[in-house]
Symmetry: C2
Subunit: 334 residues, 2 copies
């Protein structure tokens, strides 16, 4: 058994390239007291990997010579802890490696699902964020219209598909004609409006002939303002993110707030996925049902082979993925 590991050869100053990484064969680690030996199966490729190379964030900065840290799904190969047994599937703070050891109390045991990658997409943070925000705050009912921004994103795509499964008319908002077409054709949205075109409010009224009862907002700003214009009385706005406002020094508040809330008796509520952790088991059961019934399509972008992790990250930073990007290091255990 060999253990490959990818380390940072050199910290990038400009754009990331494969020259910033180095893969080597390293010693097979051994589990110490209270530790487990883990085989890495799937690693999550995130823009955050790049930001860790720029300095300390919520974790210490990654330095030259360090292995690249990653969120990973792993199989327990040896355990010196009563908490975990051989063959258990866990989520771990791992590295870009074939095998790692870690303290047993630091990993999270995962439910057994048929396709492990789903634990990082439809049953992971994106799917849970969509489910909890829509069900607990949006509370859509069959026959209502649900409007979703960033509809081609991983959260927005699940929001729309869940709402369709519940019997709602689903209208997306996305950037550009290609994404809008994909949202309708692949995700089955009833309509999708391109926010880059002029006249967003007018286009939303056309796409929502009966108005909108729920708006799942991932973007804030002018798109939120237009979405509020098309809301029906007693509508619910689910505030999940405000991506349009993150990278600007002059944030713009929706000019129809709070007036439209009073006139139309709307509610708006923000949340983060951890607020609803007590409902995670319900979420998993419902999402598995919809995946099994074919009502929820899972879009993942899985790159094969640990050796391709650097290129997978570089490509992600250039936006060339569709759906959640993962690297498969080993096959799912049967």
């Amino acid at each position: 058994m060999t253990n490959r590991q990818i380390t940072i050869a050199e910290l990038p100053t400009g754009a990331l390239t494969s020259a910033h990484f180095k893969m080597s064969d390293v010693e097979m680690p051994e589990a110490g007291e209270g530790e487990v030996l883990l085989r890495v199966i799937l690693i999550s490729i995130d823009a955050a990997n790049r930001s860790w190379m720029k300095g300390a964030t919520y974790r210490a900065a990654v330095q030259a010579g360090d292995p690249m840290p990653t969120y990973a799904i792993c199989e327990v190969m040896a355990s010196n802890s009563p908490k975990l047994a051989l063959g258990d599937i866990v989520a771990a703070d791992a590295t870009w490696s074939d095998y790692i050891t870690t303290k047993a109390h630091k990993v999270q045991k995962l439910p057994k699902v048929q396709t492990l990658s789903h634990l990082m997409s439809v049953y992971g943070i994106a799917g849970k964020t969509a489910f909890h925000g829509l069900m607990s705050i949006g509370k859509p009912l069959a026959g209502e219209t649900v409007l979703v921004s960033a509809a081609a994103g991983s959260v927005g795509g699940y929001v729309g598909q869940i709402a369709s499964a519940l019997g709602c008319r689903v209208v997306g908002i996305a950037g550009g004609p290609e994404k809008c077409a994909w949202v309708q054709e692949q995700l089955g949205f009833d309509a999708c409006v391109d926010y880059r075109e002029a006249g967003l409010s007018k286009a939303l009224f056309a796409a929502c002939p009966d108005g909108a009862d729920v708006y799942f907002d991932n973007v804030g700003g002018k798109v939120l303002e237009s979405a509020i214009n098309v809301m029906n009385q007693k509508g619910r706005v689910v505030c999940c993110g405000a991506i349009s406002q993150y990278d600007t020094d002059t944030p713009t508040g929706p000019r129809n707030l709070p007036g439209a809330l009073v006139v139309k008796r709307l509610s708006m509520e923000g949340f983060i996925v951890m607020d609803f952790a007590h409902n995670d088991a319900k979420c998993l059961r419902a999402m598995q049902h919809w995946v099994a019934s074919g009502q929820l399509k899972v879009f993942e972008d899985i790159v094969d082979g640990l050796e391709n992790a650097p290129q997978a990250l570089i490509g992600l930073l250039n936006g060339d993925n569709k759906g959640k990007r993962l690297v498969r290091v080993a096959a799912d255990p049967i």
Copy 2:
């Protein structure tokens, strides 16, 4: 028995003066089929009286020669309807008169309370708006901090007093040092911040050392933006009005929306008083309890005598009232 009536002598073009009104003795009306004869006890003086002289609104325009319409509390003196009996107290669309007749189905029978004027203030629209918005949307708990804008207004004043009765720390926002002092000394608020002073957010943090859990918003705009800054996680914003935004061509949305809603998991919800009509009986019982216990002080501005109604309206338009302005036409029945 004489019946006095005030009519419009001439429609005003500029500022309203007493020359625009004329009081005459008119014939005592008689109740026809399905009608009641009403003795007018109290009339409501509202800025709306003036707007009716400018053209059609939700009612037909008032013309020269017409008696001035008004919302009034009346006693039934004669009834040709099985729905109403002699001595019943009703709310009616009346005129500035001692006596009127109207169809019985057009009036609303009122609960018997000790002081009839309270049906136009603490038990009227202002008190109900404060109670329903605070209780059904704000949901304050003892020990929480409740922030209220337009605290010296009729709605805001009741919001703060109800929240105090529930065991909350109550902080007002009002315009000018005199109003702020009145809110603290007469209404018993724990603190009151002058929004006209520079540094509103800083002043709110000082007045709310534990942050705010409920914000009852009557104004919108920059005051709302500052109030959101001081909200605690899971705080509730009650959207009752947006008076700062009514008289402007360039409304400004709070720049921290929706970002702060996500980060702090806040909710915002708009309402109007009729939405909660099904809870009006509960509201009346609770408000009567707090008035009886002395926890709710009622501020009314009652001008005596039908003949003084024109001057009462002219003065209201100049802002010289404190609390709800009424004109007493006849004494309360015992």
